[in-house]
């Protein structure tokens, strides 16, 4: 990564942060859009179809589909921004692919607050992708609060895995 890219990353990070901190309340997350994925007209042996979760994961790497947060936080750090840029490249390459960002919290929070926190995390990731040029209309957000953990223990390591925003393609 050269200097110019690094600067861009920092700038966009700062932008995204600023954006989610004083986000105008009137910006309404768009409803889910059921756009049929155009057939990629495969002539080669069938792999996962464009826009499927499998295709997305193969293209960006599974680890890059999820960003993680510190306790009670929702800021996009350097590691998150690198992942989201990889995602943004994919979504730029396949402009007909719509997707959902699922926001989650760990179990060490009250249920209702965690629902709001998950929503805030999903929006932070969304705002970052929008700042990278992905149209907001392609991104749906949903919060599951602490209702859908992936790591099942009750310890710091598990909680760190559960404080996340996961990008899921709609196909």
């Amino acid at each position: 990564m050269n200097n110019r890219i690094a600067t861009t990353v920092m700038l966009t990070s700062a932008l995204a942060l600023a954006a989610c901190q004083k986000k105008a309340p009137e910006e309404i997350p768009p409803p889910p859009i059921e756009t049929p994925t155009p057939a990629p007209a495969p002539t080669t042996p069938a792999g996962p179809s464009v826009g499927s979760m499998e295709h997305f994961m193969q293209a960006v790497g599974q680890a890059n589909t999820v960003v993680y947060f510190d306790t009670d936080r929702y800021n996009i750090d350097a590691e998150d921004s690198a992942k989201l840029q990889t995602q943004a490249q994919y979504f730029s390459q396949y402009p007909n692919v719509n997707f959902t960002i699922e926001g989650h919290a760990d179990e060490r929070g009250t249920r209702e607050y965690n629902l709001a926190l998950g929503e805030r995390r999903a929006n932070a990731a969304k705002n970052y992708l929008v700042s990278l040029g992905i149209p907001a209309s392609r991104i749906r957000t949903i919060s599951y609060g602490k209702e859908r953990p992936v790591a099942l223990g009750s310890n710091e390591a598990a909680w760190a895995q559960n404080r996340r925003a996961a990008t899921v393609t709609i196909n």
Binding site: K23, P25, E27, E112, L115, L152
Partner: protein, 460 residues
């Protein structure tokens, strides 16, 4: 403009039935309970002056004038009288206040002795208080239930009342009798004749099924409202028990629905594409509070329970969520992280005069104003214990010590708090209750795991 068109289309396209697809069969609503005056008014003051939990209360089976068939009990009114006394005994014992002797260890009084006890029968058993009652089947199928409390030392009646109930509501008569005894002996307001809405949980930690369920205050008459196909969370009974508000993912998104118990159908609390959380009723049932996230920022709104335009009550950056009205409906205590972490705030019912009340150094979450108005219960979201404080934020007391206790809800009389406890690692949840001393804590039996209890007021 494009956005607007899309929203309109989405509304037309989504069939109304879709939001009902997680609902089970409607539940029969209870009938009214008619209070009748038993002959001779109440008299005398209680002779007992020691600790109530040392008080010997004898609760023999209720008598019947004639053992006849009743829809309330296949074996007839005599068996029903035994069940009545069992329900009352369990009520008084389970709340830690009394150690009553129940009908299974006592002789059964004759119908004629209900109004004139055979004192010797009970004094030899060390009883200091005596409960007598009767069940009588009426010609219209309904039941008349009488309830009498006697002071053994004074050999005097302390209080008596009777009720006419439909057979399906026989337990309500037992709860009313429990309330009569409890109130007469403690001087507190009643709470047994009430219901609880909660979330029934099953399945592994990463794939929990969460269903809306309701039950009587003692766990009886348990019913599931939703089928479990969609996740349901955070219910609240309307003060008249005709409706429930709760969160459901039935359309794929977290949304607050108003479920009508009579019709068994539900409507969205507000027409919006934004997620809505944390619904609450005003004490008079005229308003519903809900919280809505717009662009990731959550604020508290209120809407008339009849529907119509919503009004935003908070507008700070950060998460403003929940809300619980003071009993007079004038103020709302709510939760906000505007200071950087979850804290409790109070505002006027129109959203004005917002000010922080919690300064203890711990996080303050899910505040609930006591029906008596004198206390606010909340989740200490740093240590995950249930605590209480005064409405100005002083006199903080911690009442529980579970690994994770959260979501307090008050008994109708403001003397007992229910909450749910999560087990470390397994994620199993259960309902618990504790009194204001913090000493009498017990779990509430539920058919499956349970969370998000919401205790309704005394039944109308």
């Amino acid at each position: 403009m494009k956005k607007l068109i899309f929203t309109t289309l989405a509304l037309i396209a989504s069939p109304l039935a879709a939001q009902n697809q997680d609902l089970g069969e409607p539940i029969a609503e209870g009938q009214d309970v008619e209070t009748i005056e038993e002959e001779e008014g109440l008299s005398g003051s209680v002779s007992f002056e020691g600790n109530l939990d040392d008080l010997g209360i004898a609760i023999p089976a209720f008598a019947t004038d004639r053992n006849v068939a009743t829809p309330a009990n296949a074996s007839g009114t005599e068996a029903l009288g035994l069940e009545m006394a069992r329900v009352i005994t369990a009520n008084l014992r389970n709340n830690g206040l009394f150690k009553p002797a129940g009908p299974d260890s006592l002789p059964r009084p004759e119908f004629a002795n209900i109004t004139s006890p055979v004192w010797g029968t009970w004094s030899v058993r060390g009883a200091e208080m005596l409960v007598h009652g009767y069940v009588r089947a009426r010609s219209d199928d309904r039941l008349t239930v009488g309830c009498y409390l006697y002071d053994m030392a004074l050999q005097q009646r302390l209080v008596a009342e009777g009720w006419v109930v439909s057979p399906a509501d026989w337990r309500r008569a037992a709860h009313k009798c429990s309330d009569l005894i409890y109130s007469r002996l403690t001087g507190e307001s009643p709470f047994f004749d009430s219901r609880i809405a909660y979330i029934a949980e099953t399945g592994p930690k990463d794939n929990r099924v969460k269903r809306l369920a309701i039950m009587d205050s003692d766990g009886a008459n348990h019913r599931f409202i939703t089928t479990g196909r969609s996740t349901a969370l955070t219910p609240r009974y309307s003060p008249d028990y005709k409706r429930l508000v709760y969160l459901s993912y039935v359309d794929g998104n977290p949304r607050i629905y108003v479920y009508d118990i009579g019709t068994g159908s539900q409507t969205l609390v507000t027409q919006s594409d934004n997620p809505t959380f944390a619904p609450r009723w005003s004490p008079d049932g005229r308003w519903i509070l809900y919280s809505m996230a717009v662009g990731g920022n959550t604020d508290i709104y209120r809407v008339s329970a009849q529907g119509g335009r919503s009004e935003r009550l908070t507008d700070t950056p950060g998460i403003d969520i929940g809300g619980s009205y003071s009993p007079d409906g004038r103020r709302i205590v709510f939760e906000s992280d505007r200071s950087g972490a979850q804290q409790c705030y109070v505002m006027d019912a129109d959203g004005s005069n917002q000010r922080r009340i919690s300064f203890g150094g711990s996080r303050c979450a899910t505040p609930e104003w006591s029906p008596r108005g004198d206390q606010i219960a909340f989740t200490n979201a740093s240590s995950f214990n249930i605590s209480v404080m005064s409405p100005s934020g002083g006199n903080v007391r911690t009442l529980t010590r579970g690994w994770q206790d959260e979501a307090p809800t008050w008994a109708p009389n403001g003397r007992i708090i229910q909450f749910f406890r999560t087990e470390r690692n397994s994620g199993k949840t259960s309902l618990w209750q504790v009194d204001l001393t913090g000493e009498n804590e017990r779990s509430l039996p539920t058919p499956v795991d349970a969370s998000d209890p919401a205790w309704g007021p005394i039944l109308p």
